[in-house]
Each structure stands twice: as structure tokens, then as C-alpha cells.
């Protein structure tokens, strides 16, 4: 750890070098975040003509609101399913690439592609394929006797948004898993093989434990991704429906604030979200920093 520290002679220079980043953080993060916190204590009409200080009423109303509690639940289900699916698939793909030698580069390049697709575009792609009226997959599913309709069926809707959100994140997870796998010394696995451990056993007892820092890092990153970056996917596919079954927290902030113009409640919701991210980040640094040797 010691060798990471740089030595500066003058005291002012480090602050000067940090200044641009600090100013940007202050303007684009601290200031708006402060405004959001202040706004969350107010009740205001849309135009900002009549403002009343209501202290914590926005928060108490929020946690008494069944639709907000529903959004919390939906977010947990969505985040965990997306993380499980995207990390599971990414790990399998990474293992497959790790075993192939010659074609690994081509596979990797192809697998990284979806990451370059904007969430809204990804959403529209999946929406199109699964559209109950004109989509190809509902048509095929009808052939095997399943009536797909994500406009009405909650399960179908959740499945679809999870698939589209995970699809995009697989690339990112895949990259990290491949890097993680390559960092595992081959001698360890060879030694185990010589001792008679089969591939499955080698995976569970050697590869997976040695991958755990990568896995944990990706878990946190993916969950943060599902909570914030999936706005485009939800907006393009379900708009939070049917009957709020895919209305995740960040989408509800948008719905209540930008569509419903209820700024106080929307601000309170974003403050809660900010709290969740802070907690996640703290966990990540506490836990990961201690366990990982870079």
C-alpha cells in the first residue's frame, strides 16, 4: 500500500491539481444534490409560485405509500434477477473463452458489442422482438402454447425487462471475468489436475474462490447499473407497467417528478436513492478493498 503514495514538496500544488475535479464535483454533484435535499422538505405547485415548508412530510408520505413500497420490492427483484442473469451468463461465456485459445479474440470482440448499444435502443430492440402484436417471439411462443403478453402479464413484463437489462450488462461482466480468469495462475489448476481433480471440482474449489473479488466487484457495479442505468430500458419497453409491476425506483422518480410534476416527492425519492448508492459504495470499498490485492 505504501508505494501508492506520491510525494509532493509544496502543499498548494496537490490542491491545485485536484481543483478542476473538485469544482466539477461541486457544481455537478454537490450543488444539485443539496438542492434535491432542500426540495424534499418543501411542498410546491408545479410553477414554484406557492411553496410551503413541510419538513419530513414528503418522506412520511412516501413510506406510507403502497406504490412506493411496491417500487422498492420491484427494484430488489429486478436488480437481483438482472445481476444473477447477467453475471451467470457472463461467467459461463468467460469460462468458455478462457478454454479456447485461437478464436478467443473474435469471441471477445463479438461479446463486447452489446455494451456499445444505448439502453433505449436495446429497449426498443427487445420491445420489438417481444411485441405481442407484431413481434416474432410471441408468434413462436404461441406455437408452443404460451400466450406472451407483457402489456398485461406482470411476470412476462418483468422477464422481458430483466432480459434486456441483463443482455447489455453481460458484455461488461464478461470482460472483467475474462481478465479475472487470466489472472489466475495456470500452475494452480494444473497442480489440482495432477492431484486428480476434475474440471467441475477445479472450478468450484480453485477458480471460483480466486475469482471472488471480481465477482463481488461486479455484483456491486451491476446492482448500481440496474438501479440507475436501466431507465432507458424500462421507459422504452414497459413504462413501468403493467399495473406498476416494473416500476423501479429511478423510474418512479422520473414519473412523479417529470410527468406528475410532484417535485417534493420526487426529490425525497431521489434523496432515498442517493442514500442507497452511498451505502452500496461504502460496502464495496470496505469489503473489496480489504480482500483484494491489486
Amino acid at each position: 500500500m505504501q508505494n501508492k503514495r506520491a510525494i509532493f514538496g509544496a502543499k498548494g500544488l496537490p490542491y491545485l491539481l485536484l481543483a478542476p475535479q473538485l469544482i466539477i464535483t461541486a457544481i455537478f454533484f454537490l450543488w444539485p444534490a443539496g438542492q434535491a435535499i432542500w426540495q424534499s422538505f418543501l411542498r410546491e405547485d408545479a410553477f414554484g409560485i406557492k411553496t410551503t415548508f413541510v419538513a419530513l412530510e414528503n418522506y412520511s408520505r412516501l413510506f406510507a405509500d403502497p406504490s412506493y413500497l411496491n417500487a422498492l420490492k420491484v427494484t430488489v427483484v429486478f436488480a437481483l434477477s438482472t445481476a444473477a442473469l447477467s453475471m451467470g451468463v457472463a461467467l459461463v461465456l468467460a469460462l468458455a473463452v478462457d478454454r479456447t485459445l485461437r478464436s478467443a479474440r473474435i469471441y471477445s470482440t463479438l461479446l463486447i458489442w452489446p455494451y456499445a448499444v444505448a439502453p433505449a435502443v436495446a429497449g426498443v430492440l427487445w420491445w420489438f422482438m417481444f411485441n405481442p402484436t407484431i413481434g416474432i417471439l410471441p408468434y413462436l411462443l404461441k406455437g408452443v402454447g404460451y400466450g406472451w403478453n407483457h402489456a398485461l402479464d406482470r411476470g412476462d413484463a418483468m422477464t422481458l425487462v430483466v432480459i434486456s437489462a441483463a443482455w447489455k450488462q453481460i458484455s461488461y461482466n464478461f470482460l472483467f471475468f475474462v481478465a479475472g480468469l487470466q489472472a489466475i495462475p495456470a500452475s494452480l489448476r494444473e497442480a489440482a489436475a495432477i492431484d486428480g481433480a476434475g474440471p467441475v471440482r477445479r472450478f468450484w474449489t480453485i477458480t471460483l474462490p480466486l475469482l471472488s473479488p471480481t465477482t463481488f466487484f461486479l455484483l456491486v457495479v451491476t446492482i448500481v447499473y440496474t438501479m440507475f442505468d436501466t431507465f432507458g430500458v424500462i421507459d422504452a419497453i414497459t413504462e413501468g407497467g403493467p399495473a406498476q409491476s416494473t416500476n423501479i425506483l429511478v423510474y418512479k422518480v422520473y414519473q412523479d417528478g417529470f410527468v406528475g410534476l410532484n417535485l417534493g416527492s420526487s426529490a425525497a425519492q431521489s434523496v432515498v436513492l442517493m442514500g442507497i448508492v452511498i451505502v452500496l459504495t461504502v460496502i464495496q470499498f470496505r469489503f473489496v478493498e480489504r480482500r483484494v490485492n491489486y
Binding site: 409560485i49 402484436t133 413504462e239 399495473a243 410527468v259 410534476l261 410532484n262
Partner: protein, 439 residues
Amino acid sequence: MIRTFSISALALVASMTAAQAQTEIQWWHAMGGELGQKLEEIVAAYNDSQSDYKVVPTYKGSYAETMTSAIAAFRAKEQPTIVQVFEVGTGTMMAAEGAVYPVYQMMKDTDQAFDPKAFLPAVVGYYTDTNGNMLSMPFNSSTPILYYNKDVFEKAGLDPNTAPETWEDVEAYSAKIMDSGAANCGFTTGWISWVQLENLSAWHNQPIGTKENGFGGLDAELTVNGPVQVKHWENLAKWQESGVFQYGGPGGGDDAAPKFYAQECAMYMNSSASRAGVMANAKDFDVGFGMLPYYGDVEGAPQNSIIGGATLWVLQGHESDEYKAAANFFSYLSSPEVQADWHQFSGYLPITSAAYDLGKEQGYYEANPGSDVAIKQITLNAPTANSKGLRFGNYVQIRGIIDEEFQALLAGDVDAQTALDQVDARGNDLLRQFEAANN
């Protein structure tokens, strides 16, 4: 005298230097695609017609986005002079005293000739306050009508020139259509909230809220759980089960139109402004038009339908010259020629009687059968307290609740009575919050 002289001298100097001292005003609107192009044509024609004022139209995205950006701009003191706001935003705009400049007031203050009686009562009623003053300028108003596939009707052994009149007809026709294999489904619809609840109620002269559907004050409550609405939603759920009705999705119902175009469903209810889209997409079949169906056993039905679409609101905080420009532009917009042109191009209602008469003179309605169904339906009877429209705050969110409860109904989670009770309960909670924020 001296002032007039100096102004005309100034005007002369200005015109000589070819840089005219025009008053420029901003108009934020939500008309994309072909409608947006048409709108820009109208504005360009206005700008060419005189040299004192210049209107600059800016497309701001969807209705909700346009309204939100105008409000955000107002908070930042960068608001446009004119903004187009959809009908469900009316409650919010009206409550914002101090932010909006009522149109009747502006016309009076700028000495612009203005006769509210020239406008269609069904259109204007939606946008007047309790004292009968017009608060915003109607621009694009529509009402839902019924479109049907004449070819499918013929194949099913129905008369292709007779649209169903009642819901009983719709049910019977659908059965015939499905039994004969002419189409897989009877009907679909856009806008569950607007067509199958708000208009259904007005069409049957049923209230959807207390205090004259919210016109009478901010303390109004929703009452959409009346017997007619419950019966209709029960039927819709039943028909969805048997395939007579197919759901086209929340909000505007994006999946509904393709079902009709692909001849999956034989009938389709949506805005009269969908006409252009229907005509462009119905390539393989003939389209018939009809009024919305009603229940034959409900007394007072059919009453009249209510409008949707948007109006133009003027925002406070500008110079008096800019309001003169806005008033002048509004007079131009509501002139019969401009209105008739816009109405015939888009399928929106002509907002003045003069524009309607001009269309008749031009023989437009004879040449385009069905294009006057909407106006006949909206003027069928003099509007009652139940059928002049609705005015609730937070209504954008309440529309969302209507969609959610309808989805819960179709998914079989709740029955129609519970769904509509829920709409009332959840909606009233939003109305109370709105009341608190605006008092």
C-alpha cells in the same frame, strides 16, 4: 401625436436599414412529424403576412415533455410566450394563477377583436373558468370516434355501410365477425382512460367527479365508479376474455392501431385526429366511420362526447409588445381559412363555427365521407355538467392510475367495481395533494 410620429419615423428608419424592429415571440409545441410540418407552414405564412411580429415555433417533444420544459423554463425565468398544453394539463395550468396570462384578458388588454361565441361550445367549455372566461386558446382539439373495416363487415355478412350504434350492436357484430372468420377480434381501442372512461361517461351523461367534474373547485372528488362505468369495464374484461376485445396497451394504446391496420380487429376507437394515419395505413380495405357506441338502456345516451388534444397557453413575464404579437397571432390562428385548412389536414376539430361552415362550402365533407362524424358527435346535444369536460389537478398521474387499474382488471386481479373504486381512492389522494399545494 408626437409619439405616433416618432414611432412611424422609427419604423421608416428600420425598414430602410432592412433590419426591421420585429417583435419576436417563442411558441413551444408538441407537434411532431407531419403535424409539426403543417404547423410550421402555418407559422411561416403568418410571419410572411405581416412585418411587425415574428413567431418562432420550437418542437419540444411529447405533450408531457413540452409542458414540463415550459414549467422548468418558467422557474428559471426563461419561459416562452406561448406553450401548447394537452387537455389533461389544464387543471394544473388553471391553478397556476400568476404564471398564466388568461387569453380573454390578454385579448382585452391588447385591444384585439375576440368573440368567444365564435368558438364551438363543446371545445371552449373545456377551457373556460366558472365565470365563462376563456383561459387558453383552442388549437388542436379532437374527440374519439369509431373506425371500422368495411371489407370485414361485408365478409361477415354485415351491411358495410352501417356502423354499430350501441354496445349491444358491437357485441353482436363482433360475434358474427369472429364466427364467420372474417377477423379474429371484434374491436380494439386507443386511450382506455380518455375513450373508455372519460368519454364513455360524458356520452352517457354520467359524472366522473363531484363539483361538475372538477370545474367547480379544487376540492372536487373523483366518482368514476358509477353503475354505467362499472358495467362497461365488466364488459370489457369479459370481452377481452372471449376475444371480442383486444387490449392495445396503456396511455395512447400503441398496439391498438396495428391490430386494426393488420385486419386483426374489425373495429377501432380512437381520436378523430387518427384519421390521417388510418387512411394512410388501411391500404387493403375500405374504412367506415361511426360515432362512439352507447348502451341502449341508459337514459340520456347518447349525450355528447368530450374533447382531447391541446390548447395554447400564454405565460406571464413578458413585455406588452410580445403579448400584442401573441394576440395578433391568435386572431390569425382562429381565422376560418387557417382553421379549416388545419382541421382538414389533420382530422382535428374545426374550433370555430366559421371554419366548419367554410368546410361545408368547400364541399369537403361530401368529398370525404366520415370526416364530419367527430363534429356531429361533439355537438350532438348541448353539453351538460357531466359532458362539458373535466378539470382535475395531477390528472396526468390519474390517467396513469386508470391504466394501471384497468390492467389489473384485465389480468383478473380485481373486478370492475374494485378497479374503479381504486381509481377513485388513489386519484382522490392525488387531488388532495394538489389542493394542498395550490392553496
